[in-house]
Structures are given as structure tokens and as C-alpha cells.
Symmetry: C2
Subunit: 216 residues, 2 copies
């Protein structure tokens, strides 16, 4: 009822903007209204830049034909970078995960973005992801960045039920193809406090305990 009353009160273009904005993730009706009024008050040029940025992103950004990450050039800059080690492939669920890993500056290999994880209950199956392309990259070096053979695959899926079962499936398939399979380390998050860590985190930390080098 409140939404109906609102519809009558706002001019139609404002209503439509509020409706479109409230489709965005984490944006409720109130935030959408606040954003709409901000746009209404903003300079015309500023609003148009936002409008154009949305359209541009749909026009200019696509998936890398090798690793499926988001890119404005194809293949992406990571796949074509001769400084990156194309024989090591880190598998992530989504492009955002790749960005987070890149920000550490610690990884010099290449990536493969699955565009999701296996989740049969939600209807996400193998052919919905880029699993076939991954196998092709490994089976046929010509499909990989700069034609190099893949020797190691690092599983970088999310440490939860769906991520783990996807990782399990992939590691089986990958081992059949003769590549070394590893996964990102699990344990206590840096900067956390042990007393607040969950049982699962502590179990991972114990099971995965790491040798301390002598000189430390």
C-alpha cells in the first residue's frame, strides 16, 4: 500500500529510477530513494557520466576467451603478459576473486575463472561453468595462454560447502590429466584472535599446521 501511495506521489521518471536502482544488490527502497534524489540534485554532467558508465561497461567489457575473466581486451592482459607463468593456473569462482588475489601481488601465474561453482540444488551444473574450457586448456596447450603446457593447478574456490565439492570434483578430473593440484591454504585469518575462531577454522589450522623455519 505504501509503495502504491508512493507511486502516485513521485513523478513517473523518478518512480522508474527508484525501481531500477532498488534492483541493485543491497539496495532497499529507502536507499534507492536516497540515491534517486541525489541523482536528481546532482549536476547534469555528473548524472550523465554515471548513466554512460553503466552503458559503457556493458558495451566494452567482455570475458577473456582464455581465462573468462572480465576484460576490455581479448585475451586479457594477464593471459598475454609474458612475465606471467602460464604453466600455473589458479582457479577462482569469479572475476572479483581474481582481483582480490591480484591485489596481494603474490601470484605470478595465470587464472581460470569458473564463473560460479557447482551447485546442483540451485541448478548450476558443469555446462553452466567454464569447466570444459579449463579441461581444454590443460589437454591442448594451444588453448592456453601463449601455448604453454599447464603443469600445476591451484584451486582457489571459496572455502564452503559448494566450493569444496566443486574443488573435489575438479581435483579428481585434473589429476587424471596428470597435473599437480594444490589448493589455497586454510587456517587462522591473519589479524584475528584465536579465541573467536570457529571450530572449523581451528580444525583447519591444526590439520594444516606449517613447519616453522629454523631461522625464525
Amino acid at each position: 500500500m505504501s509503495s502504491e501511495a508512493t507511486s502516485q506521489a513521485y513523478p513517473e521518471p523518478v518512480n522508474r529510477l527508484i525501481e531500477e536502482l532498488s534492483r541493485l544488490p543491497g539496495i532497499g527502497r529507502r536507499s534507492a530513494e536516497r540515491m534517486a534524489f541525489f541523482i536528481l540534485k546532482a549536476e547534469r554532467d555528473d548524472a550523465m557520466r554515471l548513466s554512460k558508465a553503466i552503458a559503457d561497461v556493458k558495451d566494452a567489457v567482455r570475458c577473456c576467451s582464455i581465462c573468462s575473466t572480465l576484460t576490455d581486451v581479448d585475451p586479457c592482459r594477464i593471459c598475454t603478459n609474458p612475465q606471467r607463468d602460464a604453466s600455473t593456473v589458479l582457479i577462482v569462482e569469479q572475476a572479483r576473486d581474481l582481483i582480490s588475489l591480484e591485489q596481494t601481488g603474490m601470484y605470478r601465474g595465470v587464472y581460470h575463472v569458473l564463473t560460479g561453482r557447482l551447485d546442483p540444488l540451485s541448478g548450476v551444473e558443469e555446462h553452466d561453468l567454464t569447466i570444459q574450457q579449463l579441461f581444454e586448456r590443460i589437454d591442448d596447450a594451444a588453448q592456453n595462454c601463449r601455448g604453454e603446457q599447464v603443469r600445476e593447478v591451484i584451486l582457489g574456490l571459496n572455502p564452503n560447502l559448494e566450493g569444496d565439492s566443486t574443488a573435489l570434483y575438479l581435483s579428481d578430473e585434473l589429476r587424471k590429466r596428470g597435473v599437480t593440484v594444490s589448493r589455497l591454504a586454510r587456517g587462522l585469518p591473519s589479524g584475528s584472535q584465536l579465541e573467536y575462531a570457529s571450530r572449523a577454522v581451528l580444525a583447519d589450522a591444526i590439520m594444516g599446521r606449517q613447519p616453522v623455519p629454523d631461522d625464525q
Copy 2:
């Protein structure tokens, strides 16, 4: 540094979208990223509808030449509605306040949107608001909706320091013009609990106590 690293990792159009989105109120860098990736994943048509809604709102929505509220027709539908009592004007700070009041369905007069409140410390002075237009509406009935004389002005500014001082200034000026000046009632908010009410609210509630009709 983190932001710089990000700039390198995202394709340029994605960066630009994140930057534009993070200008929106209440949207930090992380939310902007989440929204940008949502737009990237969305159907092209959906993204384009959002882009267009933003552009449309800047093209199609303007201020009513009488009451300054946001409207797609000028004068707005409230000012031109013959069912509304044009002799009573409710003054609000912004169009959103008008919408909230309209949603109650309790007010049958017209409005005047100040587009802000007097706040000399932040450099908002009389000429930044629509105060002159308000006085013209009152002095010259021809300026008002449907040429009717304004008899009562209800002050609907926010109950805070700036709102109160703006109301004080306006009520002085309006009384000189021979109109009845009232303000929205203050007291305990419906549905609240007395024990949690602030001292200012309780003071308002005591000072503004209302007679209880016999038949209740």
C-alpha cells in the same frame, strides 16, 4: 595503495563505473564494486534500463514553477488539482518531505518546497532557497495556484536547530503579511516508548499537551 592496485586490475570501464557508483550517497567502495559486478552480470537490457532511467530523470524531471517540488509537468499535479485547498500552504524543506506527508493522505492543501533550510554556517542563505518565491505567492495571489489568496501557512521544517531557526525567521516574515502561521505538532512519536524518549521530546510533549475529547 589498495585503490591504486585495484585500478590496475580492473578493466578501465569497470573502474570508471565503480568510481561513479561510489559517488552515490551511502555507497562505499565495496558496495560500488558489488553493484558494478551485478551490472556486469545483468542482462544487457536491464543495465540499459538503469542507464536510461538516470538520463531520463535529468531530462524529464524539473521543479514546479509554483511550489518548487519535483515534477514532470509544470505546474505540478498538486498545484493544479482543483480538489486541493490553495489557501493553505505547507512549507517543507525538500520534495521528499512532501512525498512523506502526501503518503499520510491527511493533507488537502498545497505545498511550498524551500529546497533546503537557512544555515549561514554552511553558507546557505535566503537567496539560495525559494523564500522569495514564497513571499511572492503570498503577496500576489496571481502567483499562487489557481490565483487563490493564501490564508494559512503551516511550517513543516525539520525539528532541529536549522529547521527551527528557519521556521522562526519565516513565521516573523509571514505574520507581517497577515497570514495565519502554524507548525506541525511535536510530541511523542506514535508507537514509541515513553521511557526511551529524549528530554527534548518529553518537553515538547508536555508543553504541547492536547485536550482529550470527552467521548474517549
